[in-house]
Symmetry: C2
Subunit: 323 residues, 2 copies
Amino acid sequence: MVDVAKRAAVSVKTVSRVVNGEEGVRPDTKARVDEAIRQLGFRRNDSASDLRRGRAEGIGLIVENMSDPFYSVIGAAVERVARLQRHLLLMGSAEGSAERERDLTGAFLSRRVAGLIVVPAIEDHHWLAAELAAGTPVVFVDRPASGLSADAVLTDNDAGVRSAVEHLAARGHRNIGFLGDNPEFWTAGQRLAAFGSATAALGLRSDLTAMGPHEVEGIAALVETWTRDSDPVTALVTGNNRLSVTALRALRRVGKRLALVGFDDFELADMVEPAVTVVAQDPAAMGEQAAHLLFRRLAGEGGPARTVVLPTRLVVRDSSHLV
Amino acid sequence: MVDVAKRAAVSVKTVSRVVNGEEGVRPDTKARVDEAIRQLGFRRNDSASDLRRGRAEGIGLIVENMSDPFYSVIGAAVERVARLQRHLLLMGSAEGSAERERDLTGAFLSRRVAGLIVVPAIEDHHWLAAELAAGTPVVFVDRPASGLSADAVLTDNDAGVRSAVEHLAARGHRNIGFLGDNPEFWTAGQRLAAFGSATAALGLRSDLTAMGPHEVEGIAALVETWTRDSDPVTALVTGNNRLSVTALRALRRVGKRLALVGFDDFELADMVEPAVTVVAQDPAAMGEQAAHLLFRRLAGEGGPARTVVLPTRLVVRDSSHLV
DNA sequence: CTACTGGACGACAACGATGTCACCCAGCTA
DNA sequence: TAGCTGGGTGACATCGTTGTCGTCCAGTAG
């Protein structure tokens, strides 16, 4: 910047003014400075700018696994909003590890990012309270923070599971099995609970649940067990899209054609055999809302923590039309 | 840091030494400093550190679209390697726009990232030469840079397409159609050229190519045309996974069961009807190799630009067994 | 006892930008 | 003409770290 200033015969402060588009620079001065910038190929050093201003124009995003479509869509949505606010996206996978999540959080905070968007792993987040109080806004996505009151964007898991159960019940299914993920994951727990209350409300069996197997073999064995009965399970609800796909493979493996409704849509759900009925979430909207919440906080909005709950949409395809 | 120094009754320089794990601090001094850091909840300001050191410990990744599985897998791989080197990942989507790509590049360079990994859009990159020469390493992925000699990680498009054509020819197909993307995209052009030479080498027709329609309707119409003939097309090669899926939908729409081989694998390719034979690339390996190349440059490795070409793998499923 | 060594530590400047405040002067009013 | 105004500009301190270099002192050799 001092080189530019010399070349344009102005002070560094004036160069700074031009670079930041501030008021109060005569057009001819600005032109001289712009020309000098062009000639020297000058690029402002944002590290210095960040240091002086005390805040970096970047937002940190922590997800479980960047390559999972659910999270990458969230990431893309966050980046789109961030870009409009002239912020960069820093992104990392916590891979379900609380330690890795803390490391990433620390790294982002050390870099003085403007804010954080986090899909939290299993753990207590009260240690983040200090940073929150210090003015770095944090928004949680998909799952709320535990031990901390902060903004969050969630899916309406309860209504979503209920719509799945009601849909199957309306088609005559009485014994519906639920395949969920480890209930230590908040969403898995929510969906399990929702399954319990939805089935109970309809007078259906609520005990056909398994939060266990994730592999084709395990699920295939489970299906065998559930269908050996004289009063067999005739339909399945799966707690996330990985389980939906795995269940589909398992059903093929054992040659049973149970009805199936999956939580969370996935690409080609309409092209597989049978096309899978799903409770669709809207990850792009989740990312977008989270980013909007964050930037509203950055714009100075106060008030208590907000929670945005997004609705689900039942997308009926073939798999729920099976006997 | 000065607060920590006061509390531990040492100089800031000593705190800096402890924070950076430098030699030459007595264990008891280090313990005092650590304790002060803990008590005050001190976190080093990386903006200041970056400024002083002249380089940020982050690497910038520019892809076409973060939410596309191909790119998000690259991103996850890059992040994994970056993490091991204690670097953060900054990521953005250029969305096929050269301008947006330049903006992102500029933003990353302003932040003085350690290096850049770029999936380039259509354009000339000689303007990057100055930065490259100035010591910021750049690695290109999926497509080489134009007008610039830089490291790159590519897929062996030629061998991949050839394996697809040979596979279909071996199953008796003589008239094979090629559905590609806009040939301004480097990969699309490569694959088209590869299709031409592979068919020519086998004495097959090389003129059944369309770099045009991307929607179900357009492709359906094209298929109708190609199969109306007395000497009809009996097999299709698609140039990327979006086209494979769209072609699959189009074939269903018009009720034709042509053989199909897609370039690039996709999730559930084995579960759709028919399961799709593909030429699989390895995006995770591409991201990993690119990151390794980058960090080798950062470690001071000199020498001319390297190009790593990764092999493809033909994954035979049902769609290529159709008549 | 003196001279020397080397390890531990601190003072200070510098990295490149920006906020504050003072300055200058053209153009105005009284 | 003297005094004011206010827009354009610059000098300087400052953000939080780290590189350089000098100081201090305990321990050792002569």
